[in-house]
């Protein structure tokens, strides 16, 4: 494996958990699957559709998201938004994320 391949693989591991936090942050406003994917990509959080769509359903099942079908347009779309529980979990995750970035910033300050 080349260094680039190794970096790519490890970076994917790093990003894995961050998609949940990004979703919980973005879904203050209700959004449907594809639009959310576009917003995430535009925000610099790269995620595949085949990961994101099942993830949204899992978060809904855990009670972090609520959903509603919108049939006003020709194409019925399922809109997701954060539940009160999801907001609390997000706050906790944000704290974790800040601690983690602070710790890693201290550990890696020589690499900057």
């Amino acid at each position: 494996m080349t260094p680039d391949e190794l970096i790519h693989g490890q970076a994917q591991e790093l990003r894995r958990g961050t998609v949940v936090l990004a979703c919980l942050a973005l879904l203050e406003e209700p959004q449907y699957g594809y639009a959310l994917l576009e917003t995430l990509t535009g925000a610099g959080v790269a995620v595949d559709g085949n990961t994101l769509y099942p993830l949204l359903r899992r978060l809904e099942k855990q009670g972090l998201l609520t959903s509603e079908w919108n049939t006003d347009e020709s194409r019925p779309r399922k809109f997701y938004r954060v539940s009160p529980l999801g907001s609390r979990v997000r706050a906790g995750l944000v704290r974790e994320w800040r601690d983690l970035t602070a710790s890693l910033a201290r550990l890696t300050k020589d690499d900057a």
Partner: protein, 311 residues
Amino acid sequence: MTANTLTDRYVREVARRVPAGQRDDIATELRATIADTVEARDAEPGAAEREVLTEMGDPVRLAARYADRPLALIGPDLYPAYTRLLVTLLTTALPAVTAVAVGFDVLDGKDAGSLVGTAVGTVLTVGAQMIAWVTAGFALVERSRHRDRALAATRAWTPDDLPAAPRNDRRDIAACASAAWHALLLGLIVWQHTAEPYRADGRRLQVLDPDLWTGWIWPVLAGLAGLAALDLARFATRERPLALAAWYAAAQAAFTLPLAWILYRHMFFDPDFLAHVNGGWKTPDAFYTGAALIVLAIGATDTLKHFRESR
């Protein structure tokens, strides 16, 4: 939706693999999502559809993600317990079952060729059954909804599970060979009694004195069975506690002491068999005394070796 587009076929493949309760919901959302994605592409619609579906990937995999179902037959949580159980079964139960099967054939007076056939056949069929059923059982547990509870029921690993001694191939082979030897002796004794293999003047004779079966042969047989079982235990655990050596000494005593006594008192061979084999010649007393001493010496050496190995 009567059209049979690639998207329809794809959605159908995903939908039929997710729980029935969510099937329609997931299908509708997936169809809309694919349509949204295709629409956003600049490419010609047919090519874009193909491209999008390729990116979504294998429907089996996607359905597993939707259903939150593992794609492994036995996941990492259960795998250690699975391998441990299989190894234990294949190294203890399988040899034991094979020994019993061969023992029955010996009782039936089968020849050596069919004994080997039975042994190989038993190892293959019973071994395959063990692997198949254990695997099926663990796969079911893996898929059951009560996985967490089942997991709590399988014993958690503790440092006590660490093997005390590194695996010692030489000792393992020795233990297996010893078990086979003791089982073979046991089988031979029973076989010569039931099959009466020796033919003399139109009569069938046993080799050993039939009178033994009303007395001294029983501790010998019990001792042999005990020795074979302890050999297997020695192989399975790889540990050498003092208790095992003590049991071994007891089994060895049950086997050796009566056997030596039988030899010493000339009660070993069937007198008719002996007369026919020897003709006019009489076996000297020294032969029996010597044989008894050799049996005692082997038994004592073996017992000592086991005590030395234990710690």
